[in-house]
């Protein structure tokens, strides 16, 4: 795919809209479509709702969060975007049917600890990595 792009780029260089040539075009897209930028949303995982509090001692649940929103070019400056995501977003503008937009996904995850009984009434404190979204961004 990369080779094809390289070959085609000189011929289709005019297909890529340059922000300076089309001032405000992307801002208009934001406003018109009211798109929701990639950001972190609240998601609480409840051990109580799962009916697990007979063996989970603590916590009763935890804030796991999730990431949702669009990663449309130009990626907002406040957004945590990889260089690859910026390039993919540009390529998506050229070939929207073959290259998808960058994904809104966690960029930083942290651990959470769960204290629970096992079947023999021993108590276990376990750290589970990558369970809590600390930040979201475009990948």
């Amino acid at each position: 795919a990369l080779k094809q792009l390289k070959k085609r780029q000189p011929k289709k260089s005019n297909d890529l809209p340059h922000p300076n040539k089309l001032p405000g075009i992307f801002d208009d897209i934001h406003a018109a479509e009211g798109r929701q930028v990639c950001r972190r949303h609240e998601l609480y995982v409840s051990f109580q709702d799962l009916g697990w509090l007979d063996w989970v001692i603590a916590p009763q649940g935890y804030s796991a969060y999730y990431c949702e929103g669009e990663c449309a070019f130009p990626l907002d400056s406040c957004m945590n975007a990889t260089n690859h995501a910026i390039l993919q977003s540009l390529v998506h503008l050229m070939k929207p049917d073959s290259v998808p937009k960058a994904c809104c996904a966690p960029t930083k995850l942290s651990a959470t600890s769960v204290l629970y009984y096992d079947t023999s009434n021993n108590v276990i404190l376990k750290k589970h990595r990558n369970m809590v979204v600390k930040s979201c961004g475009c990948h």
């Binding site: 079947t119 021993n122 108590v123 276990i124 750290k127 589970h128």
Partner: protein, 271 residues
């Protein structure tokens, strides 16, 4: 804020189908698998479990210490952040100043497991010297793929039942390596503490070596044996020395804590 239509829940952003009972069970199984559990644990509360026992209390202190650190952001960090770094020693007091510092041990661990004492054998004043106490733990629940980073045996000491409270006592803990019917069992010294007869609090013994042996060969687990000696080498009944066993209050019963580090990520069954 969603509304139900038939089997579907409409929310502002997506259409969500109601899950069948089977699908819910499958989903719970998937979450348990992520937590590294083969199934839903079914603990049976022991008789008289209304009063909290020492091991869960200790673990809860440990949990709170780590949770507060995660909230502060010190231990939460990214995926590589060490667990519970800088955690202070939990509320349970210790007479011991020996052994690895708890915060260092925790920072290297992925899992901490406490084991209640299942069986206790005493050779007390009604028997010949030397006197001792034996303790056994159920290690069958340890998940595979874990290696021990540290293990502690914790036992509570009351003030000794003796007139000489400033008397020095040497308390030693051994791993029972082999049991012999016709002679004394083979023992391996794990840790030794020196205390005063009048001291009171939790004693912590390093039993990492024994835990490693037991984990490698779970069938060879024969337990721990504890001896108490006076300064002149005379054997002292552990009960008279103030060491509490299964007959003591629930919040002061002996237990073992083992710190594990996962060798690998848990392998989940494909859905």
């Amino acid at each position: 804020s969603g509304s139900f239509h038939g089997n579907y829940l409409h929310t502002s952003s997506f259409l969500q189908r109601r899950l069948s009972g089977w699908e819910k069970r499958e989903m719970q199984r998937e979450i348990l698998s992520i937590l590294g559990l083969p199934g839903r644990p079914r603990p049976r509360p022991p008789p008289g479990a209304k009063l909290p026992s020492s091991a869960p209390l200790f673990m809860l202190d440990l949990y709170h210490a780590m949770a507060s650190e995660e909230e502060d952001g010190r231990g939460s960090g990214d995926t590589d952040v060490a667990w519970g770094r800088g955690v202070s020693r939990p509320v349970l007091t210790s007479l011991s100043t020996q052994g690895p510092p708890l915060e260092r041990v925790i920072s290297h661990a992925d899992m901490v497991m406490s084991f209640v004492n299942m069986v206790e054998h005493d050779r007390d004043l009604f028997y010949q010297e030397p006197y001792w106490k034996e303790f056994r733990f159920d290690l069958t629940q340890i998940p595979s793929g874990e290696c021990v980073t540290a293990a502690e045996f914790r036992i509570y000491k009351m003030r000794s039942f003796t007139r000489h409270l400033n008397k020095t006592l040497h308390i030693s803990v051994y791993e029972i390596v082999t049991e012999q019917s016709n002679r004394e069992s083979d023992l391996f010294l794990l840790d030794l503490q020196t205390v005063q007869a009048g001291d009171e609090g939790w004693l912590v013994f390093d039993v990492t070596a024994a835990s490693n042996h037991w984990l490698l060969n779970r069938k060879s687990h024969l337990g721990l044996r504890l001896y108490v000696e006076a300064e002149d080498g005379r054997s002292v009944d552990p009960g008279l020395a103030g060491l509490l066993g299964r007959q003591g209050p629930r919040s002061k019963q002996p237990f073992m804590v083992t710190f594990f580090r996962a060798n690998q990520n848990p392998i989940r069954a494909p859905r």
